[in-house]
Structures are given as C-alpha cells and as structure tokens.
C-alpha cells in the first residue's frame, strides 16, 4: 500500500487507541454509594481483658521453677477476643469477632469494620464484649442518630473511660 494511503489508516488507529484510553481512564462511573446511603464505621483500638488473672505463686510452685525465674506473681498474657456488634433499628448490621494478635495472643486489636446504611434517622445500638468471663456485652451504648446522604459516622471507643463516642 502506498505510504500516503497509510496515514489516514494510522490516524484511525491512533483515534481508536486514544478513545479506549480516554474512556477507561474515567468511565464507566462507579457508584460506591447510592444517593440515599450513608456509612457507619466502627474503628478503634482496644485490648481484650486477660483470660487468666494474675496469681501469687505458692512456695512449692516457686521451688519447682529455676532460681532465676522465681517471680512471685504469674500473669498469663493471653487476652480475650473482642466481639463488636451494631444494630440499626434493631437489625444487626455489623457483628464481628477480633482475635488478639501476637505470639501469645496478647496484643490489642484494631477494629475497622464498615457498613452501608440508609440515610435518615435511626436508633443505633452498639455493643462490645472484651472478656471471656462475661456473657453478653461488657460495653454498650444506644442512641438516635440522623445520617445525611454520603455521611460517614465513625463509632469510636475510649478504652480508658470504657465508653463509645461518635465522630
């Protein structure tokens, strides 16, 4: 084919290539959230309660240990898993168990869990269990929230006061 006839064909090829690049660089639009939705995210750090209490060793128990390891008080390090749940108008939206990381399951957990919910006014119930010795919630809170479309409501927890708070 003569070279001058190739140029229009090349222009077509470049056009198709750039059309593909342009279109997929920004389209089709992705709907992450519909206009009537908001998001609730539970996000906080917390350490579960230790599974076993510290206890003072008896003389017999101490005698069985090597001399350099005879600490008078033994504190097992393993912590309880932390369960979080969130009810919206009585319906469970979030329910998740976080197992403590670490070689001895002794570290704190990082809660990060989200749910898309309808915007509007809702009764919100949040709860947490951080002890294997307690049935049900060790911490809970209930309140009415008004969520705007696309609003992000963060449910946080203050381990020092033992209370949930909202951002």
């Amino acid at each position: 084919m003569p070279a001058f006839l190739r140029y229009p064909l090349q222009a077509v090829n470049y056009g198709v290539f750039m059309l593909l690049v342009w279109y997929l660089s920004a389209a089709p639009a992705y709907t992450h959230l519909t206009p009537d939705q908001a998001v609730i995210t539970m996000a906080f750090s917390h350490a579960g309660v230790r599974i076993e209490e510290c206890h003072t060793l008896s003389q017999e128990e101490l005698a069985r240990l090597p001399p350099n390891m005879r600490a008078p008080v033994d504190c097992p390090r393993e912590r309880s898993p932390v369960t979080v749940d969130l009810l919206l108008d009585g319906k469970p939206i979030i329910e998740k168990v976080f197992h403590p990381p670490g070689l001895y399951n002794d570290l704190g957990i990082d809660v990060y869990v989200s749910a898309k919910v309808p915007a509007g006014e809702h009764k919100l119930t949040v709860g947490m269990n951080d002890s294997v010795h307690v049935q049900g919630h060790t911490h809970s809170d209930e309140r009415t929230v008004s969520l705007k479309p696309a609003q992000l409501l963060v449910v946080n927890f203050d381990s020092e006061t033992g209370k949930f708070f909202y951002q």
Binding site: M1, A3, R6, L9, Q10, V12, N13, Y14, G15, F17, M18, L20, V21, W22, L24, S25, A26, A27, A29, Y30, T31, H32, L33, T34, P35, Q37, A38, V39, T41, A43, F44, S45, P101, L107, D110, Y112, P149, A150, Q151, L152, V154, N156, Q167
Partner: protein
C-alpha cells in the same frame, strides 16, 4: 498449511495483518510494544517532573496545587497533567497487549520463562505506581483509593496497627503525603526500573527507543486527547463524607470495586492467585527447548560473531583455554540457549563448500541438526528434483509449515530459524542445481527468536558477517515472510517466483559448477 493455528493466535495474526496494512512492518506497533511502553514511561517521567515542581506535598496543599496546575496554567500544567494520566493509561494498554501477544504466539514458555515471570510483577509495579499517583491528588478519588488501599494493607497478617483508621478521624499528617510523594516519585520508579532490567536481562540487543514515526504519532495522539478532554479532579477529599460516585481509572483501579463485594483477604486471595497463575504459565505445560549449541574449539577461531549475534545473550567470549594460536574462544551458557541455531549461521566455518569429502564440522553447531546434516539433506532434496525450474525452499520451524510446498520441482528444508541459514548454504544450493532459492520465515520484524530474520537479511545485504558473496546469483534468490495464516499468499508468491525463474531459464552456471565438482 493453516490447519494448526489456534483461534487465539489466528485472532492475533488478524490484528497484526491490520496493523501491517496501516503502519507497514517497520512501524507496526505490535512489533514495538516494549519500546512503546518505554516511550510512554518517558512521557510520564517528563510530565511528572514538571508537575512535581508545582505540587505541594501536604494535606491542604495537595488538592489546591493540583487544581492550580490544571486550571491556572491549563496551557502547560494542565496539558502535562493530562499527558501524565493518559500516557500512564496507554502504558497499561501496551503492556497488556504485549502479554497477549507473547501468549498468543506461544512466546512465554521454554527458554522465555524468565522474561514472562519477571514481566508479571512488572505489571503490578506499574499498577501500584498509578495507585499512589491517584492518592496524591487528594480529591474524593484519592480518599477512596487511600482508604481502600489501607484496608487492603491492614488485612495483611504482617501489618500491625490500622492504617485505614487514620483516614477517619483527622489523624492524617503531612508526613504521610511526603512519604507517598517519595514512594511515587522515587521509590516505586526505581523498583520498576530494577524489575524492567531483570525482565530484559536475558536478551541482547535490547531496543528501548520506539521508532521515531510511532513515537511522534503516539505523542501527537496523546496531545490531541489532552487538549480535547483534559484530566480533571473530583471534589476535594472530605474525611466526614464517603465518596459516592467515582470516575474510576479502570486501568489502575479495577480491583477496588471488588472490596465492596468481598472482604479484603478474599481480594488478596484472588489477585495473588491470578498473579501466581500467570507466573507459572510457562510450565503449564512446559515447553522443552532443544539441546544447547555446542562449541567445537578445533573449528573455532574465537572471532566472537556468534556471541554478537546471539539474541539471548547465551554466548560469551573468553580467553582461549586449549592452547591454540587464537586469542579467544566462545562459551555457551546452556541455561540461556534457545536452541535457535542463529549462531551456526554466524560462524564462518559453517560453509558447506568446506570439507566436501568428509563430515562438515563448524565452530558452533546444533547437536540435533548439525550443519553437516543440513548440507546432506539439502543435497539429497535437490537431487530428487526434475525439470528446468528447480526451486529450493528454506523454511522456518516457527513460521508457516513449508512441507506442503514440496513437489517434483520444489524441494523443501525447514530449519529452526531463517537466521540459521548460512549465506554459503544458499550458494551451495545453487551450485548443487537449484535454479532458484526461496526463503520463508517469520514476518519481518517478528522473528520467533527475536533477531534471526533481521540478521539473515543483513547478511544477504552485505551488512553483517558472514555476508552473501557476490558469486551468489541474487536474481535467483527471494525472501518472502509469512505467518501461519498466510498459506495462500505464500503459495502465490512461490508460483510467481517459479514463473520468474522460468523466464530466467535453467541455471547453466549451476550445471557447470556441479559438473566441475563431479
């Protein structure tokens, strides 16, 4: 002749036909996907450096500086930003086409395993580079990318603490942007450069510059697109709101919507599985490469032409070890040898006129199809021909199958590559009674062994050693490049060549030469 072409390969070859029609074989973009990707990287680098001059690596300044670049200096910064984005996207297209091409043509297993295996992570490095780029704009899309990327990172068991939480509660600091800026501008590009270096490490004569025509055309196309549809930002990131509708760049961010459907660990599982599957493809099933080339030191003068010609960097020149008078010798690394036989034709000793009465030995040879065997088969094939237009066809095992061309006056011999044909073999065929020599192999610019057809043409044109000597009757030699789907074209071209030879008449010089030898 076309029966064994699978549908994927056939589809690719149709696309290649279209581009050969539009661009010609020299500019066919499918033959330059690697260099085109390099070219787009250059555009990304230059435009990125310009953007960095005006970019503010802080939470407050990132968005406003990008907006200023885009709108206040649309004629420079705006175009640079658009070029930066569109060239990055174009690079993904050429990388994916490059992968598809190698897969369709079966060029991913056997001796090519290294290039394939290192190519897969290279793609991921490019993708992550793009992800951090979108993050830096710090608009709604940047927030979306940052939050979801953090969730992906948090789900890895080796990561302690929660990165995603930082994007919820205003705990972000400018230091994070400095870190991301460092990663995007320096850390990731350096890693990518290392992976690309590994990717081409087993190749020689690596081209990194796209043909000028293609580069100019691509740049013009990118400029037109940048002027027509400039790249813009979403609304600024707002930590109290969740981005709702996003204009995703599907070339880079296609994994993120999955996080709306699946937990992060399942997304990791999917992406890791796909990556591993791609990486083990060279062994599904494995392709056996023939025995490596063997060096015969008693015939080798250490000229190093084979090392220069080897497309896979499998031959090195070292000091002579056998006490012969020559300074150097060559050594083959079997792990890198593709068994293409190109080195056989590079060797001046692969001359079939030598050692006529005994076994022909050369400096470097293929044990599975030695030069002596090639000479013997050429001779016996020619001896069976009848008529005045006797044609010797030399074919290539990795291009169209030439056995169907055989007839009373056409002899065929297929070699591993047309680059394996020593120029003196063509002369020899003429001397042994071939009125015409017809050579066919992979399409121009698309040799299965990368450089075989280029080297052969250069030898025939006298631009590469060993050259086709002037005594060869060039008007009786033709080269026609054909893929496996070009059966009809090949047959037509052979018919035309036979007519051409018929008009030239029987090659009397050959008869005389043959009689003299007898």
């Amino acid at each position: 002749m076309n029966a064994r072409v699978n549908p994927i390969k056939r589809s690719y070859l149709l696309l290649e036909d279209w581009f050969n029609l539009s661009f010609g074989p020299v500019w066919n973009p499918l033959y330059h996907l690697g260099t085109l990707t390099f070219f787009f990287f250059w555009v990304v680098l230059v435009s990125g450096l310009y953007l960095f001059i005006f970019f503010d690596t802080s939470i407050v300044g990132a968005y406003t500086s990008v907006e200023a670049i885009t709108h206040k200096q649309w004629y420079a910064g705006g175009i640079m930003r658009s070029l930066h984005r569109y060239a990055s996207d174009a690079a993904v297209v050429t990388i994916l086409l490059h992968m598809f091409r190698e897969f369709a043509l079966g060029r991913y297993h056997g001796f090519r395993w290294w290039s394939w295996v290192t190519g897969v992570p290279a793609l991921w490095f490019v993708i992550t580079l793009g992800i951090t780029g979108y993050w830096l704009v710090w608009d709604e899309l940047g927030l979306y990318v940052a939050t979801l990327s953090s969730q992906l990172m948090d789900s890895l068991p080796v990561v302690t603490g929660s990165m995603a939480r930082d994007f919820l509660t205003g705990q972000l600091t400018d230091r994070l942007f400095t870190l991301m800026g460092f990663l995007h501008l320096l850390g990731q590009p350096i890693l990518l450069a290392v992976v690309i270096w590994l990717h081409v490490k087993r190749l020689s004569h690596v081209e990194i510059s796209a043909p000028r025509g293609l580069a100019v055309g691509s740049l013009l196309a990118l400029l037109v697109l940048s002027l027509l549809v400039p790249a813009t930002s979403h609304a600024p990131a707002d930590l109290s709101r969740v981005p709702a509708v996003l204009k995703l760049d599907w070339f880079y961010l296609n994994v993120y919507p999955l996080l709306d459907k699946w937990p992060a660990d399942q997304v990791w599982l999917l992406t890791t599985s796909v990556t591993l599957l791609l990486m083990i493809m060279p062994w599904l099933p494995p392709r056996k490469t023939g025995p490596a080339a063997e060096v015969h030191l008693d015939q080798c003068n250490g000229c190093g032409q084979c090392a220069e010609d080897c497309p896979f960097d499998a031959i090195t020149v070292q000091a002579r070890s056998d006490g012969a008078r020559w300074k150097n010798e060559v050594v083959v690394n079997p792990a890198q040898c593709a068994a293409c036989g190109i080195c056989v034709a590079s060797c001046h000793s692969s001359n079939p006129f030598r050692q006529a009465a005994s076994t022909l030995e050369t400096g470097i040879d293929m044990p599975q199809f030695a030069i002596d065997e090639i000479r013997t088969q050429t001779e016996s094939a020619l001896a069976e021909l009848k008529g005045d237009t006797r044609i010797m066809v030399f074919g290539c095992d990795n291009a169209i199958d030439v056995t169907g061309l055989q007839s009373d006056n056409v002899a065929v011999l297929s070699l591993f590559c047309t680059g394996m044909i020593p120029p003196t073999l063509v002369e020899y065929a003429q001397a042994k009674g071939a009125d015409g020599v017809f050579i066919t192999g992979c399409r121009s610019g698309d040799c299965f062994f990368r450089l075989g057809n280029t080297w052969m043409e250069q030898r025939f044109e006298g631009r590469r050693k060993p050259v086709l000597r002037t005594r060869a009757r060039r008007e009786r030699i033709t080269i026609f490049r054909a893929a496996e789907t070009d059966g009809a074209k090949l047959r037509r071209h052979l018919d035309d060549f036979q007519h051409h030879i018929a008009t030239l008449g029987h090659d009397v010089t050959a008869t005389i030469a043959a009689q003299q030898q007898e």
